[in-house]
């Protein structure tokens, strides 16, 4: 972002911004538009038209405001722009741009993060307060909820098209030729005689040209990159160690800080002895912020050593304090108690008469639980901050740059306009960087050395301790089968509210039921004659947040595994019965596709050639609007279960980047399988007992199955694929364990009950 400011002073910005459903053009209008962030620092007489396409004498820079955690959205955003703009995507630069309402996310509200539910609930009640909340959220630049592709698909192609046509208009004005006779190709306007005028050469001519309205976008048959295998923009850098992440940043005069978690959250009586830390080589400051011990030194390692040397004394005994976080067994008790009916949050699925259906015949029951899970992105939390008397600079990977900017302004007392957030490429996130806690802690640390940039790095242990996990949850199922069919299905789910916790930390009020408590369960496309899903809100205990696939990460397991139990109890085929019950054509097609890919012949194919018992699990979950089905094949080796193959089919409307699509789905499968196998956070004394990858392993190469992926394009809307593979991978694995071993494991991680190779 530092670069962008420099460029902006001598640049023309071309394109369009769609606000409130309309497209706004015109230099004059834009110069008065407070939402056009690229107007900052433009000199009088320069034209500024759009937030997405920036041209200067050095070439074209595309502004790709969605944060990149590894999902490849910078590359996709650039391709969407380039496809219409006619530039070589490998010859342009990209920039995240500044935080701005102009980069609002129009899709995340619809079916993404738990914010969505606040919107629905409050709108339905017509609350005025809700309008304010929605307005604020609508103006928010969020990356999350698998929404980037859907949100960008039309908007960025349109921005590219407007820029292209405006450049042609400038060339027409310069040459006196008709605009219709001009073409564009690889960063240049091509005249009828073949003369090429490079886009930067048209800068002087743009001043006199009105931006051109574009009525239609190119047909997909004309696409050169979208829909075809292509190289993502960051792949060379990420294969040569030259991709700079936030943690790699160097700012002139920078010092290094480290954050380590105190073993127990200090109370008001605690005193912190920083003398040993301050006596260490290279250390310039040390202290405690909340539960974080920190030190500032001349390199990260010295800062880490010093932060870990800070002693806390005088704390009131370790006895539980009022309001202190309960330990894990008490947490489970509170979750279970929330299923008693007094804390009902939603009942969004209620078909037929479930009470009548369960008042006859044999009623089957089961209880499921899933644990807290850490995000644990491989790049530990970090932020680089420089605070001066009149400005703050924040270099950090963030999914919510506007929230971060506003909170830093509040914390420092600086005006928002003086807080500059420079978004960075992230080494993973999985939702962790929807939180801004690490930025605020880094700001507080930077205030100790005003005027100097400080790169603050969390130790891995502090990263785990500071996490806002995926909430632990429980579910109770009741159901009945009859005549080889599932006829009654009742599911009660209890979880803490992600929305209440997460949006609350953003400083916004929250209303209504939290759909995340039941997402992936109450919204599934099945027509069971008696079918009910009820959500129950567990009182706040552990601060929780969005974790890759959010509510569906738990509920996709609850819903599908309980359905699988009933199907097996009915003696029906797991694929055939899901298909029989499914009432959504797009969803039926993914189940049919995955069965065909895996050559499904039933859940128990019998022993393999070597005599190993095998089992197959199928699962379905529609999350983020994406119907997704998986089949997992398992062998019981005698020395542990081995996951042999996984097949996934997902309906996304259109696959824009086939290579990255496959990689995202396979990665989501590995993420789901790994966490379902062996990951959990258990709390004791206010912090998780797991502090590093030795106790939170995830999947390793030896455990990785062969993964086969198919994207279906039957739907009429583009959808994102980052999250939907996760719930089905988890559920299909649990179902496969039953098929292979006859044991129905109703608790994750599965490693609590079975061994994996």
């Amino acid at each position: 972002m530092g670069r962008l400011k420099t460029i902006a002073r001598r640049s023309f910005l071309i394109g369009t911004v769609a606000l409130a459903g309309g497209v706004v053009f015109g230099t004059y209008a834009y110069r008065r538009d407070p939402d056009n962030p690229l107007l900052d620092d433009l000199a009088e007489g320069q034209a500024a038209i759009t937030p997405h396409v920036l041209i200067d004498t050095e070439g074209v820079t595309l502004i790709t405001p969605r944060a990149d955690k590894g999902q490849g959205t910078v590359s996709l955003q650039a391709m969407l722009l380039a496809e219409e703009l006619d530039v070589d995507p490998y010859a342009i630069r990209t920039d995240f741009g500044p935080p701005s309402a102009a980069y609002w996310n129009g899709v995340v509200l619809a079916e993404g993060l738990p914010f969505a539910d606040a919107g629905d609930g409050t709108l339905a009640r017509g609350s005025r307060k809700a309008g304010e909340v929605l307005g604020k959220i609508l103006g928010m630049q969020i990356t999350g909820g698998s929404s980037s592709a859907a949100d960008a698909f039309d908007r960025l192609r349109q921005a590219g098209a407007v820029a292209r046509e405006t450049l042609k208009a400038a060339a027409a004005a310069r040459t006196g030729l008709a605009q219709a006779d001009l073409k564009t190709e690889s960063g240049a306007v091509v005249l009828p005689d073949g003369t090429r005028v490079a886009y930067p050469d048209l800068i002087p001519d743009l001043a006199g040209v009105e931006p051109v309205q574009v009525d239609s976008l190119r047909d997909p048959s004309q696409w050169r990159f979208l829909g075809h295998p292509h190289r993502r923009l960051d792949i060379v850098a990420k294969s040569t160690g030259t991709q700079a992440y936030g943690i790699d940043l160097t700012v002139e005069g920078m010092v290094f800080a480290a954050v380590h978690r105190l073993p127990d959250p200090p109370d008001e009586t605690a005193r912190h002895d920083t003398a040993p830390a301050l006596a260490m080589r290279g250390v310039v400051a040390a202290g405690v912020i909340g539960a974080n011990a920190y030190a500032i030194a001349d390199n990260t390692w010295r800062a880490m050593q010093a932060a870990q040397a800070i002693r806390t004394e005088g704390m009131a005994a370790m006895a539980p304090r009022p309001g202190a976080m309960p330990d894990q067994s008490e947490i489970w008790d509170r979750i279970a108690a929330s299923l008693d009916g007094t804390r009902r949050d939603s009942r969004n699925r209620d078909l037929g008469d479930i009470d009548a259906a369960l008042s006859q015949g044999e009623v089957l029951t089961a209880e499921y639980r899933v644990p807290f899970l850490a995000h644990a992105a491989l790049e530990p939390l970090n932020a680089t901050v420089r605070i001066t008397a009149d400005r703050a600079d924040i270099w950090a990977g963030t999914q919510v740059p506007i929230v971060a900017r506003d909170k830093v302004a509040r914390l420092t007392g600086l005006p928002k306009a003086s807080v500059h957030v420079h978004n960075q490429m992230m080494g993973g996130s999985f939702g962790r960087r929807l939180e801004d806690d690490f930025i605020l802690v880094a700001v507080e640390i930077a205030r100790r050395v005003t005027g100097r940039a400080v790169k603050v790095t969390w130790t891995r242990e502090a990263d785990f301790a500071a996490d806002f996990p995926r909430p632990a949850a429980m579910a109770r199922g009741r159901g009945r089968v009859e005549g080889g069919q599932v006829v009654a299905y009742d599911l009660d789910i209890a979880a803490q509210s992600t929305m209440e916790s997460q949006v609350g930390r953003m400083g916004m009020p929250v209303f209504g039921p939290d759909k995340a408590i039941v997402a992936g369960a109450a919204d599934q496309p099945f027509a069971i004659p008696a079918y009910r899903v009820t959500g129950h809100r567990v009182p706040a205990m552990v601060p929780v947040s969005s974790w890759r696939s959010v509510g569906a990460s738990a509920n996709g397991v609850f819903h599908d595994c309980w359905l699988d139990e009933l199907i097996h109890a009915a003696g029906a085929d797991p694929v055939a019965e899901r298909l029989r019950l499914c009432d959504d054509p797009l969803s039926r097609k993914v189940i049919e596709a995955v069965a065909e890919m895996a050559d499904w012949q039933g859940a128990q194919p019998g022993p393999d050639g070597a005599g190993l018992m095998r089992g197959r699990g199928v699962a379905f979950c529609r999350s983020f609007g994406v119907p997704t089905a998986a089949i997992v094949d398992l062998s019981d080796t005698g020395a542990g279960l081995r996951i042999d193959r996984a097949f996934v089919a997902a309906e996304v409307g259109r696959v824009l980047d086939p290579v990255n699509f496959e990689n995202q789905v396979a990665g989501g499968v590995v993420f789901g399988l790994g966490h379902a196998m062996n990951c959990e956070l258990t709390y004791a004394g206010g912090v998780p007992e797991q502090a590093n990858f030795d106790s939170y392993e995830g999947m390793r190469l030896r455990q990785c199955p062969q993964i086969t992926v198919r994207g279906l394009e039957n739907g009429d809307r583009v959808r994102g694929i980052g999250e939907p593979p996760v719930p089905v991978a988890m559920a299909a694995l649990a179902n496969a364990v039953f098929a292979a071993t006859g044991r129905r494991i109703r608790e994750l991680p599965l490693s609590r009950h079975v061994d994996f190779v």
Binding site: V236, K238, T240, T250, R281, N299, A377, L378, R460, F693
Partner: protein
């Protein structure tokens, strides 16, 4: 202590118990080597010490006297990538990419010692390198491919 990094002689004055990881990143400015766990549980900091892959977070400065260290920056560059890096590019292995320096250095150590590894040998050599994004299928394919390109 004196040693070479990517062929360049270096002399540093740091505590003997400072890990090579931080010496590379914060003292020498070679940030391609990544911090992930600090306890040899993830492999993101893998570099070559005298030709063999090691975890830089467990390699102490005091043990570096006279050593030859090679990092991802020394293996190849965007303009002149190592065959493994070419395979990583062609297979589009990376998602977030944060673990990939360590993955590539671990694989390079394997192929230097065993030019034609079996899948089982690749898995055994690479199993300690964690990828949170789950790029394992592409890692396996890229190592196989690179072995072929290198004539293994």
């Amino acid at each position: 202590m004196r040693f070479t990094v990517n062929g360049t002689p270096r002399e540093v004055d740091v505590e003997p118990d400072m890990p090579l990881l931080w010496l590379l990143r914060d003292v020498l400015g070679l940030t391609g080597t990544k911090y992930g766990c600090g306890i040899a549980a993830c492999g993101a900091c893998t570099v070559h010490l005298n030709g063999a892959p090691v975890r830089a977070c467990q390699t102490l400065a005091g043990d570096l006297e006279g050593a030859e260290v090679v990092t991802i920056e020394g293996l190849g560059t965007p303009a002149a990538p190592h065959p493994l890096q070419l395979a990583w590019i062609d297979h589009q292995v990376a998602q977030c990419g944060y673990c990939q320096s360590g993955q590539i250095m671990q694989a390079a150590g394997l192929l230097a010692q065993n030019p034609a590894p079996s899948d089982a040998e690749i898995i055994e050599a690479m199993d300690g390198n964690l990828c949170r994004c789950g790029t394992y299928p592409r890692i396996l394919a890229a190592v196989r491919d690179a072995a072929g390109r290198m004539g293994g």
